[in-house]
């Protein structure tokens, strides 16, 4: 389990290579405990997606280094420890929900489609509550269903780390609340380390053990807030005064000037 431990030291990132370019990330340190649910919260364009890719070894930082369980992140990729859920579902339009849920696992294992991978994908679809939609093609799925297939696709590999980039950004408020409850449930069941990106404050508080607030120009960590609400959390927690206290503190951190 110790391999779920993600550590980033002195991360700096510039695109284009020129030293004159404005850095996207600068001198950023971050440690994520195994099995934790950690959220990166920040305004649009502050470098959340960039940081997430760097943490997963999908992007090489200009400065600093990342280790996962004491090893370079490329090894985590090779040992299929990383499960990515991108901002858009990015499903293959010619494959059914079930086949889509198999794709990453099949590539990761390097074998063809096996009964074992089908079973893993079926279980993953059941976990996100989509077993009845297994035979549907992406154009027959609603936005929320497609997003859940995308999550199932990552879960089917059974990775130790889930990297989720604003997975619910395009959903309406009600579906989003449902998906948040579902995700909290899955996290409790599977015990994975989750790094979750969002710019929605209540979503961050609802889901996380720890919220890292990011600032822009250059992208950096402004503050870290531990959320000590009891679990399991359900919709009722939204009305809890402790919850609203967290959300207003985070809002102030995000908009320091707008203190009314």
């Amino acid at each position: 389990m110790e391999s779920g431990f993600i550590s980033a030291r002195g991360i700096g990132m510039r695109f284009g290579g020129t030293s004159t370019a404005q850095p996207v990330l600068e001198a950023l340190d971050l440690t994520i405990a195994p099995g934790a649910f950690v959220t990166l919260l920040g305004p649009s364009g502050c470098g959340k997606s960039t940081l997430l890719k760097i943490l997963g070894g999908l992007l090489e930082p200009t400065d600093g280094e990342v280790s996962i369980g004491g090893r370079p992140p490329s090894e985590a990729v090779d040992r299929r420890q990383i499960g990515l859920v991108p901002q858009r579902p990015a499903l293959l339009p010619w494959k059914t929900a079930l086949q889509n849920a198999c794709v990453l696992r099949d590539v990761a294992t390097g074998k063809g489609r096996s009964a074992e991978s089908l079973r893993a994908a079926e279980n993953a679809l059941a976990l996100v509550g989509l077993e009845e939609a297994a035979g549907k093609l992406p154009h027959q799925l609603s936005g929320g269903m497609a997003q859940r297939v995308s999550i199932a696709r990552a879960l089917a590999m059974d990775p130790e780390i889930l990297l989720m980039d604003e997975p619910f950004g395009a959903l309406d408020a009600i579906t989003r609340d449902e998906m948040n409850e579902k995700l909290a449930e899955i996290w409790t069941q599977t015990g994975k380390t989750v790094v979750f990106v969002t710019h929605a404050i209540s979503e961050a508080v609802f889901l996380s053990d720890t919220v890292h607030v990011m600032g822009a120009d250059p992208g950096r960590l402004v503050q870290t807030l531990d959320i000590s609400l009891p679990r399991p959390r359900t919709r009722e927690v939204f009305d809890d005064p402790v919850f609203t206290d967290y959300t207003s503190r985070l809002r102030e951190l995000l908009e320091p000037k707008a203190t009314v």
């Binding site: 890719k53 990383i82 499960g83 293959l92 339009p93 010619w94 590539v107 154009h139 590999m157």
Partner: protein, 279 residues
Amino acid sequence: MVTAAPGVPTREHSRPVSTTPGRLRRWYSRAWPSALLLLAVLVAWELAVALLGVSEFVVAPPSAFAAETWNSRELLLAAAWITTQEILYGFLISVAVGVGLAVVIARFSWVDRAVYPLVVLFQVVPKVALAPIFILWFGYGVTPKLLLVVVIAFFPITLNMLVGLRSIDPDLLLLMKSVGATRNQILARIQIPTSLPYLFAGMRIAITLAVIGAVVAEFAGASDGLGYLIQFASTQLDTPLMFSALILVSLLGLVLYYGMSLAEFALARRFPHITAESQ
């Protein structure tokens, strides 16, 4: 220059895929007005030739070449069969060459840098003008015909396929990287299936070009085929035979074009995104 042909689906596939019977019915209802118009033109043509007293050597009336087509049916069918074979084999080779080239260019950046500019440059050559050269090199047999068809028809296939191979969703690419996929896995599992609608758009253009290639090659030097027949008939001042052969060539092109659509429907069972928007 690098533009997708019309009818290339976008990445959104939200529309329901229409079924084959539905499409056929719509095709019929759209074909009726054109069929009527064509009939009207033929009638007008017949009347004009009769009323204006035009010589049959200049313009044959439809009834004359209908009669001629019937009388020379064996000659015409034999010639059409030769030309059909040239077109089909040439087209199949064009698809193999076009797809192969596109895949190699997309897969190996050094091939892209070395070969692609030359392929584009080669498009400046008016390929019809190559026909006499091919005849000179390879004689009156089938080789120069196939060669001309391929030289004319492979390019739209390569170009469209290449656009398709490169239209890969950056999120999908990232997903594949996150599980350590190789370039070949990305090519086989994502890029090639994604490019199928683009490939078909290219093949539609290529099949009509293949007809032109085969006929032009026969003009330049042949002892059989519809192109040869047209030229032979013109030396004999046999205008009705010329028209019959011409119409047969056009029909051939039409049949092959719609044959492509059938192939597309067949493949759309497995890859529904192919027909999601085309036509």
